[in-house]
Symmetry: C2
Subunit: 342 residues, 2 copies
Amino acid sequence: MDLDERKVKILQAVIRNYLETGEPVGSRTISKYTDLNLSSATIRNEMSDLEELGYIIQPHTSAGRIPTDKGYRLYVDNMMEDKIHEIEDMKEELEKKADKIELLLQHVAKLLAVNTNYTSMVSKPQYKHKKVKFIQLSEVEVDQMLTVIVIEGNIVKNKMIKVTNPLNKEIVLKLNIVLNTFLQGLDLTEINMALIQKMKEQAGEYNDVVGLILDAIAEAIQEEDDLEIYTSGATNILKYPELSDAQKASELLYTFEEKEQLTRLIKDTNSEAENHGIQVYIGDEAPLQVMKDCSVVTATYEIEEGVYGKIGIIGPKRMDYEKVVGTLQTLMVQLDDIFKKK
Amino acid sequence: MDLDERKVKILQAVIRNYLETGEPVGSRTISKYTDLNLSSATIRNEMSDLEELGYIIQPHTSAGRIPTDKGYRLYVDNMMEDKIHEIEDMKEELEKKADKIELLLQHVAKLLAVNTNYTSMVSKPQYKHKKVKFIQLSEVEVDQMLTVIVIEGNIVKNKMIKVTNPLNKEIVLKLNIVLNTFLQGLDLTEINMALIQKMKEQAGEYNDVVGLILDAIAEAIQEEDDLEIYTSGATNILKYPELSDAQKASELLYTFEEKEQLTRLIKDTNSEAENHGIQVYIGDEAPLQVMKDCSVVTATYEIEEGVYGKIGIIGPKRMDYEKVVGTLQTLMVQLDDIFKKK
DNA sequence: GTTAGCACTCCAACTCAACGAGTGCTAATA
DNA sequence: TATTAGCACTCGTTGAGTTGGAGTGCTAAC
């Protein structure tokens, strides 16, 4: 027995209907609401076959059928193929816009969630080797020095430094020159003891300030090291009865609040993501145990060669896959627009 | 009939027990687990009185009693008086520590939530008249200028500005001097057209850059204008059955996710808060309709004269008030420590 | 004033039957 | 041979009793 066209159509109908209602769908429903013009009895036979093939399942003997993970998988693979290709082709060339990127991504997450009624997450792109691009030391108050550090990707970090004895303008100028000539273009691994020693020599009696600034740089780069994730619409999962029983909902919501599990998810999917397109994880395929009753759709965006982040949707398995993929797509276009405008 | 000491003790016992169990408490329980040495019948009589006085209520005829809002109010007012005074006395003198303050407050929120098992919120202190303290323009790349703006409270903002024709070092120096001499110490209302015109004159052919920088300043100050709120432990509310029915929980969680309702709450409680101490809102007293089944405890902290933020706890009405107030207190001490150390 | 005792109330949990949606199977039909 | 009508069967859901227990109010005795 194999999967002929009619079976696929019936499977499609079952899935579509189940996506809408969340209830098991019976043969009579399919018979009435499709243009196949088959009696419920015939549908029953076909559905029986589909069950044997593992695409649908009965939650209990006298209930309708619901799709299995395998069924969803077929649906996604077959019916979405076009859409997915479409998107893979449009290589988003996102202009870097590092300051305010947090707000932007938060906004993206929000849009995603509002448009889909599912939960969204967006990860901040990470540069692999964070290089120092520019350092500036300036006096804000007599004992307060401001260190501005710009790292690769025009990410700007600030750190106030308290000094006990004030530095005069010349010293500040000199320190700025020393700092920039020594450190520009280096990442953390390249700033070694020998280098630090030399800088401190040049700084003379102000070597303690250099120490503080180096700490600030380390801190700034370290800060960028942990993958930041923005989520939105976490409470949307409560809209789907199959996910909103106390136990499950609580675990899921907790996962969205404490994001460190999500970073694992992002990292896991990153490593697999040789193709930088859209990926769909259904049920147990999802990289996190808590999401075993969910589907996860992720997309990768690149802001420059090798620097990319993820955007994703988490929702029930009866997720409106077409819409989700569509939304991810439009949102990428919008992202593009925003980046280009600024 | 008035509220004698024994009635208060019984009321106390009812509330304490209800806080623990979340179940209506009966006369027998009180009789057994207090040192009053009264039979359940006597307790029954007293409870009947307490009900008549409006401190407790029966959810249905043959059930135990649960405290009314009035009951909780008495409990809080009477039994917490000492604690509240204690805290009002300890005027927290929080040293300002503006950069990284976001992380710090986030941490505070987390600690609060973890310690209490309720939901916490922390608002960022706001300066009323945001004055420009320091401006710095520097070249990061040939067409990329970085504007650093420090405003009152040592809040640092950055903005990248793209220029079409590069500025040489002298021009940058000159612009920095112009910007700082003209703008230092001013807030948004004081930067008027006349001033802007004068600055542009001084900037000569680079007046467009001045325009961009002014925009950046406006943006930076605007950004600080909206009250930022950090929350933690939103999912904790699901631990309390009386709050975790689908409808209520969903609304509450949504409120914590979309924080703009919380800003209203903070602002409302601010205006009332002539006393900068701890305030308890029980049930309908809470400033937000969604929290009508909750209690809200807020505390005000001051980082300098007139600049304060709020920290607060939202939980079920059967909240462990003593613990919450205690935790708020310890956390304030910790906050103090952190500020002083740095 | 306190307590023991008892009748009463009412919720929660359980059982049970009726119902209905949906199935599988068989026999008839095109 | 594929499709369909018909029917018996299954099983979860719903709603109506039933019961037990926790808790109360009241009364009479201490």
